[in-house]
Amino acid sequence: MTMVDEPTGTQAPEKEVGKARRRKEDARLITGKTTWTDNMSLPGMLHIAVVRSPVAHARISNVDVSAAKAAPGVIEVYTGRDFAEEQGSLPCAWPVTPDMVNPGHPSIAVDSVNHVGEAVALIVARSKVAAQDAVELVDIDYDVLPPVLRMEEAVKDGADLVHDELSSNTSYHFVFDAGDAGLGGNTDQAFADAEVVVSRRFVNQRLIPAFMEPRSCVVSPQGDNYTMWSSTQIPHILRVMLAMVTGVPEHKLRIIAPDVGGGFGGKLQVNPEEVLALLVARRLGKPVKWTETRSESLMTAHHGRDQIQFIDIAADREGNVKGLKVRLLADMGAYLRLITPGVPALGAFMFPAIYKFPAYHFECDGVFTNKVPTDAYRGAGRPEATFAVERIMDELAVELGMDPLELRRKNWIQAQEFPFTTIAGLEYDSGDYEQATQQALQLIGYDELRAEQRQRRESGDPVQLGIGFSTFTEMCGLAPSRVLGSLAFGAGGWEHASIRMLPTGKVEVVTGSTPHGQGHETAWSQLVADELGVPFEDVEVLHGDTSISSRGLDTYGSRSLVVGGTAVVKAAEKVVAKARKIAAHLLEASEDDLEFTGGKFSVRGTPGTGLGIQEIALAIFAAHNYPEGIEPSIDADATFDPVNFSFPHGTHICAMEVDTETGMVKIRKYASVDDIGKIVNPLIVEGQIHGGLAQGIAQALYEEAVYDDDGNLTTGTFVDYLVPAASDLPHFDTGNTVHEAPGNPIGAKGVGEAGCIASTPAVVNAALDAVRHLGVTDIQMPLTPERVWRAIHQGGDGGERATAGTIAWGGASTETTTGVSTDASSLGGDR
């Protein structure tokens, strides 16, 4: 013993988690060295073009493909009849009620078509151009049936039917009653006793995910094996489902999601074209490729949202909420796709939001219409719920003459009340709504804006200013498998990871969560660098290939870091545990005497000793000297199944200028403070928030999938479907509070959907706050200048859509989107 200990080193190594690491992914993306599916070309590859229905609802009376078959370069032409026996039905994995009606979903229409854009024939040709040219040569006769387009009419007795073999257009009636579930009081009684009741009908319009990379898939047959490259969010789920649908055995099917250009839920799907490409490749024994055009994508890839929301709130005069009632009509479109029915049902659990409602009743009808199916789109059920509840809180505040923030504060869950079980039965994990709100108020400069608002009011300025709030939460980290089982979802919610320690000390991390822009390669490297004490640069993250990543449930629902990242951490813990045994053997010490820091095992109290985990990787590769009774490997796998969701929350504030003379709205300032738990990479977090805000603001201000009276999508190009450009969006001021999630070792809650869920009601509330004094109580989304102007000058909510003959009128572009025009569409067909 000496009087002075030797320096045992050193300060704790700098943590990777929390650093704003630049992304590893960027190297190939900024240089054009990418592997998008459409870049793929295989020897002898044939090209598929899809002939699509130009009518929304019809019986197919005759199909003549002879001219197409004779066209130059065409190898084969198929119709629905050719695949009727083997195509099965596209899967719906979420039967939300036991008696849910699912009419089945053929990948290619056989006898009837039920939405514009439905596949009716396939051209297979030697070149893409030849296939596309032959599309026009297919001659199909349609006996047109009346299209069913509006939900409120579709659910009436005697309504025309989408599927005439069914007894109604209602797929399911889903009910959640908190009283019946033993979670709250009797909702009817709460409303009967209430001093104030406010009721509203909101339209949460149909949107299009509009990922930038159009969908594409390539199928290559090798003997009885098939490899499919697809622009998908869900290679693992796709593999299982394709095996079930087509009968190709699962172990003979390999799915690869190479670089994928965005998804936002839009690529969380088993697409008709993926099934058809596999069937064609099997039939011909040749590699095939299908890549959609943007117009096909907007018309036929699934849409999102599309709910009519009837919401009632009960309160006393002091502003204490007493009950909430929600009734939804949710547009399924013509068929049920992968999770079509589950999206609005998921919302059932989010309507109570952050407020302490003592009574709650929810019901939802899933309604068939002759439109493309709806399914997941960024937030999937939660944005719709958040919109309705944050809007009705403002309406209640107006009714009570209260400040909208005071009303929220009076009813929200207090910081000391976590964990808090809500009226919908969810256990919210952690947070502090007051703290996030205070920070957001400062960020936006609230007092100055209110002063300016008063001044503009008093001076009668034609440009009025409004301030809108959204104090939101969401359920993320999808999902505890047992909970999904209780909701009748067809799969679990776990995630898998494995770590391979290579002989040179480099590390391969395999994740089952397949990214499409989120930066998994970077964030997972940070996690593993900390867990194993290896350099960030020494970690390579592999994903998106079912042969490399054997188990996984892919990317959606803000689950990747919370569930998939945790699986990575758990796998790393196992690697360290296995390496510890070998280190003890090589250092001739007891395992219990070893400490592991900075990637090194050392014997406690004997400085200078030590063995790096990367050295152990080489030692165990050689396997010349390792303990008896263990395997010569320190590789490890882990599967993580969360026990609860995580609950990010935040306060978003929008300041909006409304020109009362032109109806033009302009976001003056936007501030958001999000609590997403532990932040692994602040750069990626900020980017996710920005992108989410852009999409949520776009729902409020720009985007709407519009169908004319014949069921033609009149917003079928980027000319008409207004994905915002840089000049359409404001600067965002963003901040964070951090309350770590207790349900996972990282402490993360999920960030992918927060901005999109929170922002939409903040923007609409802000616009209304600007013009309330002019008698406006609602404006339908998106807030086009025409709607805003009409709401101000003509009353009402601005109308469902622009009137016939105006520039904003959707019907005007009918002829360009489908090539077919009827009297009704060319005359306008205004609703």
Binding site: K19, A20, R21, R22, R23, K24, E25, D26, A27, R28, L29, I30, T31, G32, K33, T34, W36, D38, N39, K128, V129, A210, F211, M212, E213, P214, D259, V260, G261, G262, F264, T293, R294, S295, H516, G517, G519, E537, L683, E686, G687, Q688, H690, G691, G692, L693, A694, Q695, T717, F718, V719, V723, A725, A726, S727, D728, L729, H731, F732, G755
Partner: protein, 168 residues
């Protein structure tokens, strides 16, 4: 078929093309320049932006035959192998991309913007790239990236030889 002579990323090509062939399809399918991508069919998204004799064009609105005798530069040809153009470097450093599908076109449009306006304001960047759609980023970090690259480009700093990825 029509004969065209075109230089793409510094290499001379003499090819026969169908007169209706779009420049972007010629680049992708005949030359294998798949770094340039197709994002729409109405010239709205700008994902296919390349430089034609130094000016940004949407290569889906140019016929291959119109490029006859011209110099085309794509995302694959703006910096020597192993190095980055200041605009590429800035998109990386400012996190101006997520999925990366719009990025080649966005970078090509941004270089053209800075060539015309070496010191653009926030609003000038936003207006300058309004022909290019991004669905992931909300554009704020793209604006930052363009301004950072503009500073480097006008300062005459040499093209970075930064190693890609793994930079903090």
């Amino acid at each position: 078929m029509t004969e065209i002579n075109v230089r793409v990323d510094g290499v001379a090509y003499a090819d026969a093309v169908e007169p209706r062939t779009l420049l972007v399809h010629y680049l992708r399918e005949q030359l294998g320049k798949v770094g340039t991508v197709v994002g729409c069919d109405t010239s709205n998204c700008g994902a296919c932006t390349v430089h034609l004799d130094g000016e940004a064009v949407k290569s889906c609105t140019v016929l291959a035959v119109q490029a006859d005798g011209c110099e085309v530069t794509t995302i694959e040809g703006i910096a020597p192998q192993g190095s980055l153009h200041p605009m590429q470097k800035a998109f990386h450093e400012m996190h101006g991309l997520q999925c990366g599908f719009c990025t080649p076109g966005m970078i090509m449009a941004s270089i053209d913007l800075v060539n015309d306006n070496p010191n653009p304001t926030d609003d000038e960047v936003r207006e300058g790239i309004e022909g290019n759609l991004c669905r992931c980023t909300g554009y704020q970090n793209i604006v930052r990236a363009v301004q950072q690259a503009a500073a480097e480009m006008s300062g005459g700093a040499p093209t970075s030889s930064e190693t890609l990825g793994a930079q903090s």
